[in-house]
């Protein structure tokens, strides 16, 4: 094993903390893993400040994990600092890889977002957008990959604790990280009969047959277009997949387009009926990766054009 603890840094952009909670959820393995790490920066755990991180020599940190997306100027700054200081930088979780659920904000103009949050809602009116001692909010969510190159992508919302432990162990041992490339369906025990879907159902409808493929029963499930690093945790608990690990390798392919194409194959139905039964395809098929999709890229370009 490793003689000296390995210098690591954990950075958090705009995020929910869930990826790091998933790291903590390796439970008693923490007793083995934590002593092998020399934590140089991790605001959730250690009291080092941003100025400490900025002061380390370039590439002096062996591994960096970056959770979250770039919503503010400060997020972008931290992302760049992490890239400068770390030899290996990991896009940790689906926000970091693809923009994640917060990337759905790109469905709306930033002024609409600011109004709902600060100017007018049920509990206040006439508010102003805060501006003192705060980093500027980016007008549109651009994926982290627009700002830095990553060495490793670990998607998932969050990545499972097992996946994190596998990755950390490989890194500490200096080995190549090799991950299976199956989709979620590979891990799903439900039977597929290759029958077409008569009608798309909303997820609360009826009682699903626990032994049949959810999609074939009419419940939209993205299992067949989603990377199965989760090992099917939702589909094994009665629940459809919403695609939180993004598409299988090569992971920057268009997940939403693949998912819609998949649905077209399973549901060769009247387009108008489909349009009514799937009233919100954008968030259904691009929930975790809108910012890195072709459609999302067009949206970003439109916003950028407005800024100039």
């Amino acid at each position: 094993m490793v003689a000296d603890p390995v210098p690591v840094a954990m950075g958090q952009g705009s995020s929910c903390w869930g990826c790091f909670q998933s790291l903590v959820d390796i439970h008693l393995n923490l007793a083995t893993v934590l002593p092998l790490l020399d934590i140089k920066y991790w605001q959730a755990v250690v009291d080092y400040k941003l100025s400490d991180l900025e002061g380390y020599p370039d590439k002096s940190i062996v591994v960096g994990f970056f959770e979250g997306m770039a919503r503010t100027a400060e997020d972008i700054h931290l992302l760049k600092v992490m890239r400068e200081k770390c030899q290996i930088l990991i896009a940790f979780g689906s926000c970091s890889c693809f923009g994640g659920i917060p990337g759905l904000a790109n469905f709306y103009d930033i002024e609409e977002c600011l109004t709902t949050k600060f100017r007018e809602n049920k509990t206040f009116s006439g508010g102003k957008v805060p501006s003192e001692n705060l980093p500027a909010i980016e007008p549109v969510v651009r994926p982290n990959t627009d700002f830095v190159d990553f060495d490793i992508f670990l998607p998932g919302c969050p990545p499972t604790s097992k996946l994190i432990l596998t990755a950390v162990t490989a890194l500490l041992e200096g080995k190549e990280l090799e991950l299976p490339t199956h989709t979620v369906c590979h891990y799903c025990d439900r039977e597929k009969k290759e029958t077409p879907i008569p009608e798309i159902l909303r997820p609360f409808s009826g009682h699903a047959d626990p032994d049949r493929c959810l999609l074939e029963q009419g419940y939209i499930c993205l299992g067949s277009s989603t990377w199965g690093l989760c090992e099917g945790q939702c589909v094994s608990h009665g629940t459809t997949c919403r695609g939180c690990f993004g598409p299988p390798p090569p992971i920057m392919s268009d997940h939403g387009a693949a998912s819609m194409s998949m649905l077209g194959t399973y549901a060769p139905n009247d387009p108008e009926a489909l349009r009514i039964q799937v009233p919100d395809p954008l968030s259904m098929f691009y929930r975790f990766d809108y910012a890195t999709s072709h459609l999302g890229r067009m949206r970003i370009k439109r916003e950028e054009a407005k800024q100039h």
Binding site: Q12, V46, R71, L104, K122
Partner: protein, 438 residues
């Protein structure tokens, strides 16, 4: 001006979320202002609009990865309130087990991983020591008991919610997954070890509180209003009415969640992307309230379970009711952990917990307006949604746990800063020897 200085602490560490502090000092070292700058926001209230409303419980948990379960449940309750859905009683029990399991793991990560390093190494220790990784090296037995309690909570959440972080099984009408008998038996077998670790934790907490009693009773003693959920007067994190207590200790409001607009005020500060929630009838800043563990223990008459109630009485003997002691939040966290464990045991022993009658088959989306409230570990959490006649979400207002605390945090920081910086407070308090010295 001369002698004017601004101190920035960036980032604030060992907290869930993203923030910095700006402390403005004036002439003669006087503390002029303290800002808690929450420096990001992600606009959930905007991008929930336009979604099928039943998808909100699968989106909203991403607000917080430490408390995704309260968000999942507040969200599904809001949808059910808007669509007039009453779920089967066994589904209520399953959801309660889910949120109590989360309360357990969250309180333990807070107490052991975020707070304990201060007590183990003392508040002035070097950052390289003052963290949970070092606790693991120096006090492995304590660390293992902490990890085991966190593991119990998180893994029980996983069995019920499919994922411990960002659960998926609560749906308008009930739960998509019931708890198999095998799972229940597996958890029942682990209850004795959990109780043992709980007892050790309570003893450790009492030792710490007594060792640091000077800090508890002298630093950041900050009178505010308090808000929390209570069920017929008992502390409850899943269901009940919302109670507000004034700084003198009088219950000044006790209302149904749907009536929140009469009582909740939201102040938009210029220095934080997280807004400040306060008691509207008293105005801002007079009506600043605090939520979270101590607030719940203040507003409740008693705990809902016997051992927790005994623990609450013991706490009140030490700090009174209401307690304005910011450092007593840790003590209250332990009292609540006792209740969570007692609830987990009771629910697992209840045969209804393995019932498969946990989901309605008929749910009709419609135009509606619903409020869902639960207690997140860090305070009361409210989701208010509106839908159109197709069940599409048309409006969202989210009052999340921490926003109930930000103004109170600034007030208590001001009290602490004045005490330490203006009154040389450190010389007036007895700090015990650190538990571990390097």
């Amino acid at each position: 001006m001369t002698g004017v200085k601004t101190v920035r602490i960036d980032p604030v560490t060992r907290l869930e979320g993203h923030g910095s502090l700006t402390i403005k000092l004036g002439e003669g070292g006087k503390v002029k202002d303290i800002q808690f700058n929450v420096n990001s926001t992600r606009f959930f209230e905007q991008f929930l609009v336009g979604r099928q409303m039943e998808e909100a419980p699968r989106i909203a948990p991403r607000i917080c990865g430490i408390c995704p379960i309260p968000h999942h449940l507040a969200s599904v309750k809001a949808v059910e309130a808007a669509w007039d859905i009453k779920i089967p009683p066994a589904a209520v029990k399953l959801r309660r087990l889910l949120i109590e399991a989360k309360q357990l793991s969250s309180h333990m990560i807070h107490f052991y991983a975020l707070a304990a390093p201060d007590f183990v190494y003392g508040p002035t220790a070097d950052p390289s020591l003052r963290n949970v990784a070092q606790v693991l090296k120096d006090l492995p037995d304590v660390a293992v008991q902490a990890i085991k309690m966190m593991e119990f909570g998180q893994e029980l959440c996983r069995d019920i919610g499919a994922k411990a972080i960002h659960p998926v099984t609560a749906i308008p009408g009930g739960m998509l997954h019931s708890l198999p008998e095998d799972d229940r038996q597996k958890w029942l077998k682990q209850i004795p070890e959990l109780l043992d670790n709980l007892n050790k934790t309570v003893e450790l907490a009492k030792t710490v509180v007594n060792a640091y009693i000077d800090v508890v009773t002298k630093v950041a003693v900050t009178p505010t209003y308090y808000i929390g959920l209570a069920n017929n007067g008992e502390l409850d994190i899943y269901d009940g009415t919302i109670r507000v207590m004034d700084p003198e200790g009088k219950i000044v409001a006790d209302f149904e969640p749907k009536d929140y607009l009469q009582y909740y005020g939201e102040h938009i500060p210029n220095h934080s992307y997280a807004t400040h929630i306060y008691y509207k009838p008293a105005g801002y800043p007079d009506g600043i309230w605090r939520a979270n563990t101590l607030a719940r223990c203040n507003v409740a008459d008693k705990m809902a379970t016997p051992l927790a109630d005994a623990a609450l009485k013991e706490m009140r003997e030490l700090v009174g009711r209401p307690s304005h002691h910011t450092f007593a939040y840790h003590y209250a966290r332990i009292v609540e952990t006792v209740q969570a464990v007692e609830w987990i045991k009771t629910l697992l022993e209840d045969d209804d917990i393995v019932s498969t009658d946990v989901k309605l088959s008929d749910v009709e989306p419609k135009a509606g307006n619903g409020v869902g409230v639960v207690e997140a570990p860090r305070g009361i959490l409210l989701h208010n949604y509106e839908s159109d006649d197709k069940g599409m979400l048309t409006h969202a207002n989210l009052i999340v746990a921490t926003n109930n605390n930000i103004a109170g945090i600034e007030k208590s920081l001001m009290d602490a800063a004045k005490f330490i910086l203006e009154e040389n407070g450190l010389s007036q308090i007895n700090l015990p020897e650190p538990m571990v010295k390097h």
